[in-house]
């Protein structure tokens, strides 16, 4: 027993914004071991310059996104290659965004529709001024040369 026990003092302080009430800076950060699991082939596809959709093996419904099982009937889907050219279904130019994307503003988001595919694909439109995007405009896919294994490995440009 030591009745003179003491915790060591440190010179790490706290960032203080206000005293009444007390408002301090609280930092929070985390690295996940995130698995794309059954959707992994989609990201591998982007690295091979292929855009993979999902087609239902039972009812034939086709999705322009990875989806292991069909929303319409519940059966398993199979991968298929989407065309690398489509049309703008809708669009917006973001002047602001979440903090992680603020430095990328202005950027243009589009939903792409493909011939013969039942659903859409979310991507970015590059190479067009905000007022140049229109619904129905033809766009074609481009891929990053160095994949980051993110959906932004693909983007679209005007045809």
């Amino acid at each position: 027993m030591n009745k003179h026990a003491k915790l060591p003092e440190t010179d790490e302080g706290t960032v203080l914004f206000n005293v009444d009430p007390i408002i301090v800076k609280y930092h929070y950060e985390i690295d996940y071991l995130h698995s794309y699991a059954q959707d992994s082939p989609f990201f591998a596809g982007l690295a091979a310059k292929k855009l993979l959709g999902s087609r239902c093996t039972a009812c034939g419904y086709s999705y322009a996104t990875p989806r292991g099982h069909c929303m319409e009937c519940g059966a398993a889907t199979e991968w298929f290659e989407l065309p690398l050219q489509g049309r703008i279904h809708t669009y917006t130019t973001c002047h602001f965004g979440g903090e992680a994307f603020l430095k990328e503003t202005l950027f243009t988001l589009i939903l792409v529709e493909f011939d013969g595919v039942d659903t859409l694909f979310l991507s970015r439109l590059v190479g067009a001024e905000p007022d140049e995007a229109t619904i129905g405009m033809q766009v074609k896919a481009r891929f990053l040369r160095n994949s980051k294994f993110k959906p932004t490995d693909i983007y679209f440009v005007p045809v």
């Binding site: 996104t65 279904h89 002047h95 988001l109 970015r124």
Partner: protein, 432 residues
């Protein structure tokens, strides 16, 4: 199922930031207000609670609902947390309804809050965007205003909806809120004000979008027997409905419109539905609630609507999902003046289109003007609807301008994601 009644509610003043109060104290304030309004009710008679808050990231605290429960002195009674994005409050309301309707509880407290001021606005937008698919949607530029901008761009393309019609929704809700002391941003606006405010995501300007808020709200739901015993003017919950849709709006089908009783297939011969222009889950929620409440023609059978106007555009889209007008008519519905209050001057001229009777939408000011502390929002709507049906707006707001003369039946609508979870509940005056 047994009949369920609302006997009280409370709201804190919604504000950009309440750093002086944590979530427990905010809920406590709303709770004390609600308890004071039914002096016959003791805390002992509350059988349990449901707590709603949307984001663990904003709260920086897991199991925050349990902390509210103990702060209010309700431990060791039953409680749980309900979460479903923007619809968290509406889901909480219906969860409390279920507790009473099932006979599990006689008196159930629904309590909700959000403290969104604890991070900066753009970090807050990032947190909200985590309620979109984090593998496929969020990394492309995760931003809810961007998603809604794409949805309304398609609505404009399909139906000819205009930015001026959207601006009129902002004018309406901000002007209504000038008579609501709980509201965060009352204002008298013009179409030019809305269009010249900073662009956020084309075509949505900052005045087309609700703000983040700190706030709390509570609702007390009870059985018929307890309603008789405790309250002079209980309000009956006559219908509840809920709907969902695919998280990724890209995955939405392009099929047929599910019809409400007053619609026919011929109304929508060439419309591919819902695509990204409409909210199928809202239609589903409305259909279920209308059937339970016996509503055949909503624009006639309802006296007011408090709906989830996180965006001016989504208010217009929601008119159509709720069947207040047909799909494609939302813009004309605004132009007609139908959703505006008769006794306020909005500085607008209306077409007076006779297709629609007057049906005030968001007389409280809605999310656009009241603010949107997510977990509290759906409960806030229930409280305003309750006061409206009781005829006690003047007493609770200190101003009876927003009191509708003949409010017998109202609808509240809570909405998450890009239409991913949606609830509709119908409240009716009296009925005992």
């Amino acid at each position: 199922m047994r009949p369920v009644y609302m006997i009280s509610g409370g709201i804190t003043k919604f504000a950009k930031a309440h750093p002086d109060k944590d979530f427990r104290l905010m809920v406590k304030e709303a709770f004390d207000y609600a308890m004071a309004d039914v002096p016959a009710l003791t805390r002992k008679e509350i059988d349990g609670s449901v707590c709603s808050y949307f984001s663990d990231h904003f709260t920086r605290q897991l199991m925050a609902g349990a902390m509210v429960q103990d702060y209010l002195g309700l431990s060791p009674k039953p409680s749980r947390r309900v979460e479903g994005g923007g619809a968290t409050g509406g889901l909480c309301f219906q969860s409390a309804w279920e507790a009473v309707a099932s006979g599990r509880m006689e008196v159930c407290l629904a309590m909700g809050f959000e403290t969104m001021s604890r991070v900066n606005t753009w970090k807050g937008n990032e947190f909200i965007a985590l309620a979109s698919d984090t593998n496929f949607d969020y990394p492309v530029g995760g931003f809810y205003s961007g998603y809604y901008a794409m949805m309304v761009r398609r609505h404009m393309h399909e139906f000819g909806t205009t930015v001026e019609q959207m601006a009129k929704v902002a004018i309406k809700n901000h002007a209504n809120a000038r008579h609501n002391p709980y509201a965060q941003s009352p204002a008298l606006l013009t179409v030019a004000d809305v269009r010249s405010s900073p662009m956020v995501a084309t075509p949505l300007t900052i005045l087309d979008i609700c703000q983040m808020s700190d706030g709390a709200a509570v609702v007390i739901l009870v059985s018929e027997e307890m309603a008789h015993k405790l309250c002079q003017q209980p309000v009956r919950i006559s219908g509840v409905g809920c709907g969902t849709d695919a998280m990724r709006m890209a995955d939405r089908p392009h099929g047929k419109v599910p019809l409400l009783p007053h619609e026919s297939e011929g109304d929508y011969a060439n419309l591919k539905y819902p695509g990204v222009h409409s909210f199928r889950g809202g239609r589903s929620a409305a259909g279920l609630a209308y059937r339970m409440a016996g509503i055949v023609n909503p624009v006639r059978d309802l006296d007011f609507v408090e709906l989830h106007d996180a965006y001016t555009s989504s208010e217009i889209q929601t008119y159509e999902d709720l069947g207040l007008c047909r799909y494609g008519e939302g813009g004309s519905f605004v132009d007609s003046g139908a959703p505006f209050l008769d006794n306020l001057d909005y500085g607008l001229a209306f077409t007076g289109d006779q297709r629609w009777p007057k049906l005030p939408v968001n007389p409280s000011g809605g999310l656009l003007a009241c603010g949107h502390p997510v977990g509290a929002t759906g409960l806030m709507q229930a409280v305003f609807a309750f006061w409206q049906l009781q005829g006690t707006i003047g007493r609770h707001l200190g101003d009876d301008t927003l009191q509708l003369p003949e409010a017998r039946r109202g609808l509240i609508h809570s909405h998450a994601g890009t239409g991913t979870y949606i609830t509709v509940s119908i409240l009716e005056r009296g009925g005992i």
